[in-house]
Symmetry: none
Subunit: 207 residues, 4 copies
DNA sequence: CGTTAATCGAGACGGTACGTCAAGTCTTTTC
DNA sequence: GAAAAGACTTGACGTACCGTCTCGATTAACG
């Protein structure tokens, strides 16, 4: 006894290629028009799809853009450059590369702005984008601990709180630098930032 | 020899009270409706003003909201709590208090999102909001140097770059914690963050 | 081999009832407000239709009013009262009855005024209103010729020119009496006018 | 004891040249823009005058245009061409010449259209434009009677009614020909029309 | 000859309607 | 029954004029 799967549902099945085409069209439209001038009718046209098809799959502009942008962040991965400082530097530069793409810039910030008044949307953003990257912090830390660069966690309950703090610092600083200050996140800056953070972490740990 | 002042310009002078009423109405509307449902017609009605009066003074929604939100951030000031850590903690909590207000949350992030495709808007944000707060970093640092908590700047050209970095880290982390992670920026978090940053600064300086 | 008929066109077909409702609402609004205070938004509301639906079918206020007024003139028909004088009298009174309706008064003159600067509009007025009534003149004349009241046309090329002249005289005189002089077009006046015209026609013909 | 004349009123007297400039500017604007796109702000600008100056002298667009157009019709005069037919022909051609000017075409018909819902305006039109030309009919008729072309009026009460009828026929036919049928009012047409009317008049009179 | 008062220019004001555009829904035919 | 097509309602957009108002600056007759 199972709920009717898509395959076994009667009638014409949903086109599998449509989803891909719609998300790609959404990103294209974000690049050309930005968030505020992006219209679902235009996205549908670009995707070669009727507006109704689009509304059947996403409830609205916000959710569509979250999904379209989320795919961009999936390419983030933790490089193993041999030291914690170099790893931080690497992930910062990767993050900056993604934020340099206009579809990521407008899309991400816009949905975050919308999420300030829409808890379901914020939940969706966290699940689709934020939390999937938080493991990078955990992995980086445990790798550094294995290398002996950081001491092991004394208190497991404290561990998660610290990881959240580090994540907010890294992600927040890069986003602020890139989008608000609008200064380049280049090797120099990444190096300075990684130095500051690393010093903070080791000093805090030994204190 | 001066450019025509407002007083000597011919014609009926602009109502002085209108600006105040409009900005207040904008913040009210942000609270009730959020950025995306805020309409200039509604703001005008709330302010008891005609739509044309609003458009005569601001080119659009973006610029209006920047000015409306900017006033919120003017209340930020650097507390003198006796130590750099305490000062950082204090300013972080002040910042968090402002970001807890719904008009600041939606307004700020939305205009930042818009500014990713509008350089003039980004410039306006920087002048009206960001740069006016950057002096807090400069003042805090020099106060810490006077206290002997931080060494004096060796290289003046480096000094500005470091201040920018610190500003991006503080502002970015608080914004990310408050709006993206959507976790409370409470005394605990502020304390942990101030500790991390302070350690990073002192260790970096002595290294 | 035909151009796609309405029935076989893809997509939702246009509502058939909307046209009727819009034209009726236009006439209602003309009665209540007159031409200059008539707004398309108000017409749409009266018709229970969205403004966009209205604009999808008519390019603007002028064309809409032409169509709305044209239907009023379709009820004109040539009475057979047994003599040319009586027929003229009858049609003049019919015309006057229509011009007594406020929707015809304001609507007709206004679109004629607009048509002085818009050739397409003038063409539309002629096709929808003027030329459809010109056959009344032709029919009345041939009926009078059959009765022997008027001689048959000697020169067929002259025939059309004379019909145009008669039409301009009848329509012009009635309109001028009703709208400019603002005096009643009653049986007396119609009788005097028909007498004058009839005398002119017979005298000219025998001359 | 007299009501304060303009001359004796205290304060700065109204500029005498302004009226002339405004009426001329109104006609210019009618030529370029037509009635519906003519705005009082634009007229004021063209006349080199402030909008308030304009509103101080005319209550609105309708009245202004009536006055501006009325001046055009003052140049109508009855030619003495030696016969009634020729006199009619002459005045018809003069009328047609005025109606060929775009400011007369749009202006006249538009205010007539407006007057269908504004009795004060209709009164103003009659006083400023229509009635001032009605004497042409009276003068033409008495001249024809002096020549013996028409019999003297038997019944003086009938006399005014007939003059009104003739006026409506002439003015109405010319306007309808020129503006509705949009055919040229040339010598040929004027000749045919004058013949028709003359025959009607003489036949009626002798009947 | 200075006061007085209505004029002048300029332009901001509260309104109202404009014609367009996008959102999201609904109704067709086609696949 | 999903899909494309496109008409539908709704509501905001930013603009243009309306007719009124508030300014400072003229400009004549009156005292």
């Amino acid at each position: 006894m199972q709920s009717r799967t898509a395959a076994s549902r009667p009638g014409r099945p949903r086109s599998a290629t449509a989803d891909t085409a719609i998300l790609a069209a959404t990103r294209d439209a974000l690049v050309e028009l930005g968030w505020s001038k992006l219209t679902l009718g235009d996205v549908a046209t670009r995707a070669g799809v009727a507006k109704t098809t689009l509304y059947r799959r996403w409830p609205g502009k916000n959710e569509l853009v979250v999904d379209a942008v989320a795919e961009l962040f999936d390419e983030l991965e933790l490089p193993d450059r041999g030291s914690l400082a170099a790893d931080i530097e690497g992930v910062v530069l990767q993050f900056a590369t993604i934020l340099a793409r206009p579809e990521a810039r407008s899309g991400l910030m816009a949905v975050v702005a919308e999420s300030t008044r829409d808890d379901a949307l914020r939940q969706r953003i966290r699940e689709s984008i934020v939390d999937r990257q938080k493991c990078l912090v955990l992995e980086g830390r445990s790798r550094a601990q294995a290398r002996g660069e950081l001491p092991p966690e004394p208190d497991p309950s404290e561990s998660a709180r610290t990881a959240d703090l580090i994540f907010d610092v890294i992600a927040g600083a890069v986003v602020h630098r890139a989008l608000v200050s609008a200064e380049p996140v280049d090797t120099d800056w990444a190096h300075s930032f990684a130095g500051l953070l690393l010093n903070g972490l080791t000093a805090s740990a030994t204190a």
